[in-house]
């Protein structure tokens, strides 16, 4: 599965975090360093497996754990309707 950020969001990098403003409802979301890293990879071309591998390498964690973390984050992004649907 390839996740892609919605194009209409207002996104700003603040240090190594991200602020994501949803113009549909005015809600603002703060993504910490890890979430920001996954968010940046939601480009519609990077697979979940690739995201997990990157996370495992960067943080020195088991791939299985990274897969779980990535899935949980993507589900959270989906719950917040921050990703394009049907991706």
């Amino acid at each position: 599965m390839y996740s892609k950020r919605r194009d209409d969001l207002v996104v700003r990098a603040v240090d190594d975090e991200r602020l994501v403003l949803d113009p549909r409802n005015g809600e603002i979301h703060q993504l910490n360093t890890t979430a920001a890293q996954i968010w940046d990879m939601c480009d519609g071309h990077t697979s979940e497996q690739a995201m997990a591998r990157r996370l495992a390498e960067d943080y020195g964690i088991e791939l299985a754990a990274a897969v779980c973390d990535v899935r949980a984050l993507l589900e959270r992004f989906e719950d917040l309707a921050l990703l394009e649907t049907g991706g």
Partner: protein
């Protein structure tokens, strides 16, 4: 003056640089309006905003402006609706300013902002800080000049929903009590010129805690929290997000869990002294 109507009592003042005239055809309304806006500078020119207030029924009032009338059920509702309309009108006329729902006080030439939802104790904490020597900018509305980073004063009477704790210095005799609020005149303690913003405290009232606590915020968290308290975000590019981030990046920002009022004031003062000494 029409027959049967109480002669009008006018008050002309400047609110965030906008001339405002309020004419009250009710002695009670005139007293409330005078008490609420006594600390705002007088205005000599033509007002941009003109209000007329008249008694309506046994306890109510009608507020008229620009062909629109608002009904207020009683004196507390009168000040609530009048201020509500005024604050929206000011945002429309000063669109270049970044309006934040927050209290603000100045100390040693620098301002700190107390941002919190209604009912979180901003005004009570602001009152306590005024009694400890801070200059009063506002307890509700912080208009920030994005170019200078200064807060423009809006020193209407400080509005308390209930009496402050017993340990706090007593309220002045000129305090006005309405059905829902207490309005404390802060005239002699009010700031009269814009003050550079140096610190933002995002306040949460935690009375069950043994003492107050403070946590420094990252620029991102501060920007997000500030954005959530912004009143006119849509008047600015990128829906105001860039402005919020910029403001937060210029100051020290903290999450403040307030508890006992005296201890909270002491903590806040110690942080402001420390940051002031370090040039933060």
């Amino acid at each position: 003056v029409r027959a049967g109507r109480t002669p009008g009592v006018g008050l002309l003042f400047l609110a965030v640089g906008v001339g405002v005239r309020v004419v009250s055809h009710s002695t009670r309304a005139a007293r409330l309006v005078a008490a609420s806006f006594a600390a705002l500078p007088r205005h000599a020119g033509e007002p941009e905003l003109c209000y007329r207030i008249e008694a309506h029924g046994a306890r109510g009032f009608l507020i008229h402006r620009a062909g629109v009338s608002l009904a207020a059920t009683d004196d507390g509702d009168l000040l609530y609706r009048l201020e509500g309309d005024l604050v929206v009108a000011l945002q429309r006329r000063r669109r270049e300013l970044f309006f934040v729902h927050a209290a603000a006080l100045a100390w040693r030439g620098r301002a700190c902002m107390l941002a919190a939802p209604s009912g979180a104790g901003k005004s009570t904490l602001a009152w306590a800080l005024v009694r400890h020597g801070h200059r009063y900018l506002s307890d509700e509305l912080c208009p920030i000049d994005l170019a200078s980073g200064c807060i423009e004063p809006y020193p209407h009477a400080l509005c308390l929903k209930s009496l402050p704790p017993a340990a706090t210095p007593p309220l002045p005799p000129a305090t006005v009590r309405t059905t829902r609020t207490l309005h404390v005149p802060i005239q002699i303690h009010a700031a009269t010129a814009p003050v550079p913003l140096a610190a933002i405290f995002f306040v949460a009232y935690r009375p069950q805690r043994p003492g107050p606590s403070l946590r420094p915020l990252s620029r991102a968290e501060a920007g997000a929290r500030l954005y959530a308290n912004t009143l006119n975000a849509l008047a600015h590019p990128a829906m105001g997000l860039d402005a919020a981030i910029d403001i937060a990046a210029r100051c020290r920002c903290y999450a403040l869990e307030s508890a006992d009022l005296a201890a909270t004031v002491a903590l806040l003062r110690s942080v402001l002294e420390r940051d002031g000494a370090s040039g933060g």
